[in-house]
Amino acid sequence: MSKLSMKDRYGLLTRDLDWSPTYVDPKDVYPYTTFEGIKIHDWDAWEDPFRLTVDSYFKYQAEKDRRLYAVLDSYAQSQGHLGLSDARYLNAMKLFLQGVTPLEYQAHRHFAFLSRYLDGPGPRFAALCQSQDELRHTQTETHTLSLYNKFYGGFHSFSKMHDRVWYLSVPKSFFDDAVSAGPFEFLTSISFSFEYLLTNLLFVPFMSGASFNGDLPTMTFGFSAQSDESRHMTLGLESVKFILEQDEGNVPIVQDWIDKWFWRSYRVTGLVAAMMDYMLPKPVMSWKEAFKLYFEDQMLDGLFPDLAYYGIRPPRHVADAIAEKDVLSHQVYWTLYSFSFAAGFTTTIPEKENLDWLSAQYPDTFERYFRGNWEKAQRIRDAGGRFFFQGLPQLCQTCQIPMLFTEPGDPTRIAFRRSEYKGESFDFCSDGCKWIFDREPEKYVQAWLPVHQIFQGNCGGPSVPEVLAWYGLQEGDAGEYEGSLDQVSWADWHAKGGE
């Protein structure tokens, strides 16, 4: 008997298992795929570029897991954490575990939902595979970073922090926005805008940072996830092209979603920008360089000319993002530094060599607008103090980031935008965030803004210690890195090692 071809095998093990409902109305079986206004005429036109089957999927993933866990074991047994570039590097991983890992889990859940509720067996199966990937990433990221939880602050209680801590409401509300949308908007937001347009600016920088700073486990995790991520990127592009090809009326709807989700995703990457430029003792490349390479060159110059064929133009407000690349990381990290008394990681004034690196990477802006802040912060340190923002910041109603962004082209003036809706004022950091609110004010008036929730008394109490306790923060998690438990332990371990 001859062996089946890959294509036949895939057909038999996936689409061939599908059936058409006869005694239930298909509209009742798939109730969520019409209300967004998207029209699909032929679900079978969906081409799965990978033709995975369940058995091959699990066999392949199990092999990758075995390799990862072998590395984790040997790293743990050899006290590998002592070989990191510096303990402060782990602040980047705390941000990753608190901010990104819970999104993997959210993605797992929502792709599981799509694997039940999309009408076509092809896209349902693709969603099933991605759902499994996302669950596996949640587990492997947690296991990888749990190696550090034994020795360092900030890694415990990460999912509680994700639900409660102020800067984590940025990624959390982003994903809540996506999963509460319809299935096609979800695909455009997460699979396309997040996974395709921006994954090289979201996921890859953490993994490259790991590689440059001696974090072998995270780097190995990154490699083990890489093939999944490239599959997710392809799925993102496939799903958008599929929707666009199905009906001309879908084009303006998808364009609106691309406009919205580019800006939503881009705002989340502000945290990554700060991480890349400020949290890595050995930086990989600047945010500015990464944005130019991965977004301007690869997406704007590479992808969007292809999408023009479908009638899709580059995202609205993209010019503001480009203009911001010289200032973004500096403004965001300065904010994290100002508020790190309430964070699940520590911050510190960059070392002189890092400041010089920033001056070289940002010749037009760093010395002129930002280095002075660090010099002033250093003077405060030298006098025995530590600068913190003694209060709570104004937040953007849409992205939930403190309103720290400046007017496009003028890094000296904070941008304020405002809308009125049903007699109430709402504030925004940018034209992009205001535009998103104005499209769907009913959605964003419900925002759980951390600052306002503290003032309503919903976060443990009115005082800072009460709020920090409610956040799940423990001694050593927050504040200044110099003199922190992590820094003291690190110095102690290395002093002993040198004796």
Binding site: P31, Y32, F35, E36, G37, G182, Q331, W334, T335, S338, Y369, N373, K376, I380, G385, F387, F388, F389, Q390, G391, L392, P393, Q394, L395, P402, M403, L404, T406, P411, T412, R413, I414, F416, Y421, K422, E424, S425, F426, D427, R439, E440, P441, E442, K443, V445, Q446, A447, W448, L449, V451, H452, F455, Q456
Partner: protein, 106 residues
Amino acid sequence: MGVRAISTYEFPSADRQEMYGDDQLVHVHWKGNLFMCAAACFRAPRAMPWADFKAAMVDGWASSDPDYTPDAPKSWELDGRPFDPKPDQSLADLGVGHKSLISFAG
């Protein structure tokens, strides 16, 4: 356009004024000083006299910057318009509303 939803989609604002009783949210921005990364947000009674608001909230917050002195703020603005608050006027009398933005130059 509004939200496309599977059913009626209408929810109250999470931060409507009534959630704060006799108080309201007030934002204060120190113009031109990027050492303070963003405007601050306070919960303040509408009946609070300006002098108390300035001393307890504005000065407390702005003193995070060691270069701040309480007599430094000038050119006050309320929601983008010039504003000349007197010490015994209440926030309500001054027209400071829920989520108003008060700014000053230092």
